[in-house]
């Protein structure tokens, strides 16, 4: 299968996502410039981490106007799998492809460290290969990852099982101490109602090789390969 890795001028995890898809997983991957208007027939789209347009105003605020986002929106509407990692997640929120918004971390500082997330749902293209309740040790690296949505929205997210990943402690409990940034309900990642668009703050692409401290993130990439192979997600051409 083929991954499209969208490159905004300030993306800085684009090469990491590419490396994970292409070199670790052995799949096809292609960079798509943010001004491009074609996704080059990719099977899945990754919006990588970074600071898309410097993000001095608000993370992702300007990126949503990039020409490529119209294509991403169409691809998502047609059921294609889209993964937003960190800044990519923030862009999906700003673009309205996922609900809610990001606030500054509770610590008001950038935080880079490993956290534990629990896989809450396995019926998304990016968690299909996980076990429900599986715990993944994956790094975060962000200053604005404090997920917020209006209480009604959060309630709907929970009742529609759209919370895909949650920050938990080593026992799997979503405690305040396990929550690195103050996100409501310890939400680390979520999906849209169609379940094909997933965004998360942790960086699975940084946890695909044991030599880097963890290979727990690989399962997310394996999931999408599997779901494309099984046809559980739409092929968008």
């Amino acid at each position: 299968m083929k991954f499209a890795i969208v490159v905004f001028p300030g993306s800085n995890c684009d090469h990491d996502a590419y490396h994970a898809a292409k070199h670790v997983l052995g799949q096809d991957a292609e960079f798509i410039w943010h001004k491009d208007t074609s996704l080059q027939g990719a099977d899945a789209v990754v919006l990588p981490g970074g600071f898309a347009h410097g993000d001095y105003l608000r993370t992702g605020a300007i990126a949503r106007f990039s020409p490529v986002m119209q294509e991403v929106t169409k691809f998502a509407a047609a059921g294609g799998p889209v993964l937003g990692i960190c800044n990519g997640f923030q862009i999906l929120l700003e673009a309205g492809l996922l609900p809610g918004a990001m606030l500054r971390n509770r610590s008001v500082k950038f935080q880079c460290e490993h956290v534990i997330v629990k896989v809450e749902q396995t019926d998304t293209p990016f968690s299909l290969a996980c076990d429900r309740g599986q715990r993944l040790r994956i790094p975060i690296a962000h200053g604005e990852g404090n997920y917020y949505a209006e209480p009604e929205v959060v309630e709907r997210l929970e009742s529609h099982r759209q919370v895909v990943f949650r920050y938990v402690d080593t026992n799997g409990a979503p405690t305040p101490e396990a929550n690195p940034n103050g996100s409501v309900n310890n939400i680390a990642g979520l999906c849209n109602e169609g379940r094909n668009v997933v965004g998360l703050m942790p960086h699975p692409e940084r946890a695909c090789e044991l030599s880097l401290g963890s290979a727990d993130g690989l399962v997310m990439f394996e999931s999408v390969v599997q779901s494309v192979a099984q046809g559980t997600v739409a092929t968008v051409r």
């Binding site: 800085n12 600071f51 410097g54 950038f110 960086h203």
Partner: protein, 745 residues
């Protein structure tokens, strides 16, 4: 025009220097020319006080591809690749505006690296501050850290290591030294040269404003009337702009349309144009009216001297301009053709049709003044070197000393700091901050690079010659602990006012020490930076040479960190203690003293130790390694345990010392060339044989396990502490300074 003493003084030029300018030009300089000379002949750009000394450093070696003289040095790391690296200081700006000062320091060193055609892949920093007990220092410290994070994180270069120490002498003059390393094809290194008459000179990047035109270089009454409001001495960094420049420049460099490139750092357009012309043996003609300007009414003087950030100067082959402009355009950057390379060796600055400066390029660089400034052994030394333990108060119990040292900010965990740095982006970081030297793998090869920055100002203060050697040894030892062969070094020399003979003496002796150590350890110095005038109210900071050492690891899968790995492993001490307390953290924390002589350094032993570490790690015998530095053996042993959940028990020979000081000297003395390693218990003999062959003392002193840190000296237990109590003292010490009492609801 008549140049008054006052104008010269404001330009930091002496009457003699002015005389040389007139002689070189054959006439009086224009105001713009005077400005150009003043910055090019400034200490910062010309190294006029330090050059005679720096020339003595060893700068060559079989791996050296680029020594001092370019924007950064480069060494061959095999596989057709070069490691390009350098360190720079941003001390003064970081005191005035900690966030922006530190951020722009990061921006500057990154430009030095990609200017060479290398993709930056790792950052480190070495920081010095006053005591965290002071609110001002806390603000400077947190601002500097946030600035380093803010810039490095957003541009996407991981900060993989660094070091921080605290001492009152840095209160009004913190040190912010930033190191950057990049990778380039060995044959693709690009230089800052201008050559080929008729080739185009391009300006690209941020617009030019009045930033950083220093008070000292203001020229006339007319200039003074413009309030200082208009001339911020602090630049604001724009990491997004730099990211665009980085990507676009690397793309342009892949074409062969580029002749040379240089960033506009200190002294901006002036130094970049003059240095490129001088290196290329050519001339350059530029028209400042074409330079993109952020503000209105800027004079040629201001445009030439501005230090606005994120700007590059390029020389492009004639006929290839459109191609280069197109690449920049793709990154939304507007490259502006502002001049040409000429053959006359002159830097000619025009403002439209009017020539405002015309100076022989070499008179600004090679022919800049050099001084052998007077030196004198400092008066403080004799007294400071006298350490008579018998006159000190009796030491507290080992347990209390241990706890206080672990919580001392210079020793305590720096997690509060490096958690704010993205240290994993680019997915190369094999050893993360806090685990020893930073290690990054080199994708596409089997290799990895280990990086460390170190320097102990107290040791240098007490003996610059030995202290500087200890800095080299420590940085090199740190990379060796990861399993890396040290292959190159860069240095940042932070000292006080060189016009004071005692400071100049410190400087000269330190440079001598660097040379001796680098030669003995076979580590060429490929570049560096000198930061002088680090003083507040006539009081200098501790003389602080910082060494950045790059080490090469042949097999990236065989890298070790500081932490013990398995219960039951043998703990082996390499080297042997001498109980040296001179300049130690113990003396400072417990007795408030900086006294004595620094530890003795045996460079033969040090070199053998590095060989043992490299082969011991490569053969898989060594499972963890951590060098003994501040806090000595006991602190080092505890640090090997922290984060693992495992304790350790060790028995080391007790050392003789003045009555009552035996245990503290044994436990907390800072004898050099010692490393604690862990080895599989049934391979200890094999490892010791290896050590014997290399003449390195290797004593099996205990084993990993349990939940306490227990140390006996000659069989008698002198420390026996629960890990669960020790660890938070160390891991949360810095956080505690920033814990804000919660607001009452």
């Amino acid at each position: 025009m008549t140049i008054s003493d006052e104008v010269l003084q404001r330009h930091g030029l002496t009457r003699d220097e002015y005389g040389r300018i007139v002689e070189m030009l054959g006439r009086e300089p224009t105001l713009t020319e005077l400005g150009i000379y003043s910055v090019m002949w400034s200490e910062h750009c010309s190294y006029k006080s330090s050059k005679v000394h720096l020339k003595t450093l060893p700068t060559t070696g079989t791996r050296v591809l680029q020594g001092p003289g370019e924007n950064a040095g480069a060494v061959d790391i095999g596989d057709g690749l070069a490691a390009v690296f350098k360190i720079e200081s941003h001390n003064h700006p970081s005191f005035i505006e900690p966030y922006q000062g530190a951020a722009t320091g990061v921006g500057g060193i990154i430009r030095d690296i990609f200017t060479m055609g290398a993709r930056p892949i790792a950052l480190l920093n070495s920081l010095r501050f006053g005591s965290l007990d002071e609110a001002l220092v806390r603000r400077t410290f947190s601002g500097v850290v946030a600035g380093i994070a803010g810039y490095g994180n957003s541009i996407g270069i991981p900060t993989v290591g660094g070091e921080i120490a605290f001492d009152e002498t840095y209160t009004g003059n913190p040190l912010v030294n930033v190191f950057c390393l990049g990778l380039a094809g060995k044959d693709e290194i690009i230089k800052g040269v201008a050559s080929g008459a008729g080739n185009a000179v391009y300006y690209v990047g941020a617009k030019t404003g009045r930033d950083g035109i220093h008070g000292a270089t203001m020229a006339s009454a007319e200039f003074d009337e413009r309030s200082s409001e208009k001339r911020p001495a602090v630049q604001v960094g724009d990491p997004f702009m730099e990211k665009l420049l980085l990507e676009a420049c690397l793309e342009v460099m892949k074409t062969d349309a580029l002749v040379g490139i240089q960033d506009m750092g200190a002294a901006g357009l002036t130094s970049s144009s003059c240095e490129m012309a001088s290196r290329g043996g050519a001339g350059v003609e530029i028209d400042v009216s074409l330079v993109p300007q952020r503000e209105t009414g800027m004079t040629p003087y201001e445009i030439m001297l501005s230090e606005s950030q994120e700007r590059m100067l390029l020389v492009v082959k004639r006929g290839r301009e459109a191609e280069v402009e197109r690449i920049f355009g793709r990154w939304d950057l507007h490259a502006v053709h502002i001049g040409e390379v000429t053959t006359d060796g002159l830097v000619r600055v025009k403002n439209g049709a009017e020539v405002v400066a015309e100076i022989p390029a070499s008179s600004l660089t090679d022919a800049a003044p050099q001084y052998r400034r007077p030196m004198a052994k400092p008066a403080y030394l004799a007294e400071a070197q006298q350490l008579n333990l018998a006159t000190l108060a009796a030491p507290p119990s080992p347990s209390e000393v241990f706890r206080r040292l672990l919580a001392s900010p210079s020793i305590a965990s720096k997690r509060w700091v490096y958690r704010q740095y993205d240290h994993m982006v680019r997915t190369n970081t094999v050893v993360t901050p806090g685990m020893g030297a930073g290690v990054v793998r080199v994708k596409g090869t089997q290799r990895a690079l280990a990086l460390s920055v170190d320097g102990n100002g107290r040791f240098v203060y007490l003996d610059p010659f030995v202290g500087a050697q200890l800095a080299v040894a420590e940085a090199a030892r740190n990379v060796a602990c990861a399993g890396a062969q040290p292959i190159g070094a860069t240095n940042c020399l932070n000292f006080g006012n060189p016009e004071r003979p005692e400071i100049m003496w410190q400087f000269a002796r330190a440079v001598e020490g660097l040379g001796v150590a680098c030669r003995a350890l076979d580590i060429p110095i490929t570049g560096g930076n000198v930061s002088l005038y680090n003083e507040t109210d006539g009081k200098s900071v501790l003389p602080t040479p910082i060494l950045g050492v790059v080490g090469l690891i042949e097999d990236a899968t065989k890298v070790v960190g500081r932490s013990f790995r398995d219960e039951g492993d043998a703990v082996v001490l390499l080297g042997s203690g001498r109980g040296e307390l001179g300049g130690s953290e113990y003396l400072k924390v417990i007795h408030g003293l900086v006294k004595g002589v620094p530890p003795v350094l045996d460079l033969d032993l040090e070199s053998a130790l590095h060989r043992l570490l490299v082969s011991g790690v490569a053969s898989g015998l060594i499972k963890s390694a951590h060098d003994c530095s501040e806090g000595g053996f006991a602190v080092t042993l505890a640090e090997c345990c922290f984060g693992t959940g495992m304790g350790a028990a060790a028995d080391i020979p007790g050392l003789e010392a003045v009555a009552g000081f035996g245990p503290v000297a044994t436990l907390f003395g800072e004898t050099a060339s010692r490393v604690i390693v862990s080895v599989d218990s049934d391979r200890v003999a094999e490892f010791q044989a290896l050590a014997r062959a290399l003449n390195v003392p290797a004593t099996a002193i205990g084993q990993v396990g349990g939940d306490r840190v227990r140390i006996a000296t000659s069989g008698e237990v002198v420390l026996d502490e629960p890990l669960a109590e020790l660890e938070p003292l160390w891991s949360e010490a810095i956080d505690r300074y920033f814990a804000i009492p919660r607001a009452v609801a």
